[in-house]
């Protein structure tokens, strides 16, 4: 049974006003436990709208969402349960911090779940470790933290709910490369330890290529392409038409192949490209 499943979802913004605009037009999607899914698409392709359907923040005009096999609209309790089981981190989550201390902010979700005090404490500390926040930082006001730390604190607030599916909307936007790598490593750590599914919405093809088991490409409110990264990146022309570029490594591999370098297919991460090139150069490179 998929951890979260969307069946033929449609959604219209500002229905019934002159600003009416369809955002999703019949999207079906399923995500198994432990899976790592990358959702990519051009701005306005419906990807952010889509992830807000998965924990019931938006109500689809058509179709339904199942979390753990239960329709999230079947009861108020089911919807609440879905919010905790499918953790959603918005874009720039640091702008949503509000408590007096980082500790209290992270504990907001667990407190809403109605957990006992000792379990809340355990979860907050665990989430803080994952987010790389020290004990001293937990006692600070969230507004005293640096930009990168704020973002980690905000993500820790969702991780503390121990969601089975962790969805992050552009988690690395505006971070420097080091901050980006360590944040993605933290997310990997959470997934490994909790066996949770991770769904990342991203613009960055590099990020999508490096981490995800499966890619879902959105275009005009529809799923345009879906499959493993190597399957999706095979459609270079289609991606370009959607305003998306291949990862830099895949572009370089393509250009080298066009010049007659005998590289294999499916090279889309810089590590894979490097290994393939080293393999080709063989002994001469090593010496």
């Amino acid at each position: 049974m998929p951890a979260v499943q969307a069946e033929n979802i449609s959604y219209v913004y500002s229905a019934g006003t002159p600003f009416e605009r369809p955002a999703l037009r019949g999207v079906s999607f399923a995500c198994e436990k432990g899976e790592y899914v990358g959702i990519i698409g051009h701005t306005g392709s419906g990807k952010s709208t889509f992830v807000q359907q998965l924990n019931g923040l938006l109500t689809p005009s058509e179709g339904r969402v199942l979390v753990g096999g239960v329709d999230i609209r079947s009861s108020k309790a089911a919807l609440r349960e879905a919010r905790f089981r499918v953790g959603l981190v918005f874009q720039f989550p640091e702008y949503q911090l509000f408590e007096e201390t980082v500790y209290r902010d992270i504990s907001f979700g667990p407190r809403n779940m109605g957990l006992p005090a000792d379990e809340i404490d355990e979860r907050v500390r665990e989430a803080a470790v994952f987010a790389g926040l020290s004990e001293a930082e937990l006692g600070k006001s969230p507004f005293e933290l640096s930009g990168g730390q704020k973002r980690r604190a905000a993500i820790a607030g969702v991780i503390a709910m121990r969601p089975e599916v962790l969805i992050l909307d552009e988690p690395t936007a505006g971070l420097d490369p080091a901050g980006r790598d360590s944040l993605l490593a933290n997310i990997d750590g959470y997934r490994d330890r909790q066996g949770a599914a991770v769904i990342i919405v991203t613009h960055s093809m590099e990020e999508a290529a490096r981490r995800a088991d499966r890619l879902v490409v959105f275009m005009d409110g529809l799923v345009a392409l879906e499959g493993t990264p190597s399957e999706v990146f095979r459609h270079a022309a289609a991606l370009r038409e959607m305003g998306l570029a291949l990862p830099a490594a895949a572009q370089i591999a393509g250009k080298l192949k066009a010049r007659g370098v005998p590289l294999p297919d499916g090279l889309y991460t810089s590590a894979a490209l490097r290994d393939a090139l080293v393999g080709l150069l063989g002994g001469s490179y090593a010496s």
């Binding site: 006003t17 002159p18 959603l88 918005f90 949503q96 509000f98 979700g109 809403n112 709910m161």
Partner: protein, 268 residues
């Protein structure tokens, strides 16, 4: 959803109503209000309704949208009607219980008050629906300009208004986003008593204020870096010009007022 609120929103268009000078539209709105309050007979209300409907038709604003925008003030209308029904003195008593008396005058007064309020608000909404906030504040600044002689800060006032108007949708969107994020963490804004609901607002208000200040800071910096130094000596890309159609429209406004005074002033 918060973003579906249409209060004070501008619907772009290219009709004659949209193209009128904002000053003309402001003056016409005042004319309309004066006429509406001067009209005292049913035929007067019918006449004003005809004026309103023709203006709406000329602006090609969807009538349904206009009616929907009345929803937020429904409470005020109902409140006024109830007050009028129960507390209008008169001798034609229809029903009597405890300290309340319902009179024929009360019912008539309530119905007229309801019509008047609805038409008043619909008319002013038509102004904001067909005039962009920028044009509106330009118009207000231009109208208030003569007051600069008595040191009235017309430009500052207009700039404050246009910034406030500009940021209403932004802040609504921001509130929406923050609410969604807190809901995703299990915040519950829909159930519980008044105290619980008020407490639930705290997680929204704190980040909203923080971001409002951040935005204000950024805006101030952006304005300074484009050499904004107040209104003195500032020229405009789009200067307001009164065209023949504006004078025609103003004449029509004056005609409506005169007609109402001449024909529908009779006291009931």
């Amino acid at each position: 959803m918060l973003r579906d609120i249409t209060l004070g929103q501008y619907f772009p268009g290219n009709t004659i109503v949209h193209r009128l000078d904002p000053r003309t539209k402001l003056a016409l709105t005042v004319c309309y209000m004066v006429a509406l309050f001067a009209a005292r007979t049913w035929s007067g209300y019918a006449f004003m309704l005809a004026v309103l409907i023709s203006a709406v038709a000329a602006s090609r604003i969807n009538g349904k949208t206009l009616l929907k925008s009345l929803k937020p003030i429904l409470f005020i209308i109902i409140f006024t009607v109830v007050l009028n029904v129960f507390f209008t003195a008169g001798d034609d008593v229809l029903a009597h219980f405890w300290i309340f008396k319902i009179t024929k005058q009360g019912l008539v007064g309530a119905a007229q008050m309801m019509l008047r309020l609805t038409m008043l608000i619909a008319g002013t909404f038509l102004l904001t629906y067909t005039t962009s906030p920028l044009a509106l504040t330009d118009g207000i600044e231009s109208i208030l300009k003569p007051l600069a002689k008595i040191h009235f800060p017309a430009h500052v006032l207009a700039m404050m208004m246009s910034i406030a108007l500009r940021f209403i949708p932004t802040l609504i969107e921001e509130t929406d986003k923050i609410m969604s994020a807190q809901k995703a963490r299990g915040a519950d804004f829909e159930s519980g008593g008044l105290v619980k609901r008020a407490k639930a607002l705290l997680p929204i208000l704190v980040p909203l204020f923080v971001s409002a200040f951040r935005r204000a800071d950024e805006l101030a910096e952006a304005m300074e870096s484009r050499c904004y130094r107040g209104g003195e000596g500032r020229t405009r890309m789009k200067t307001l010009v009164m065209r023949p159609r504006d004078w025609v429209a103003l004449a029509a406004g004056a005609a409506v007022i005169s007609a109402v005074y001449a024909l529908f002033r009779r006291l009931p």
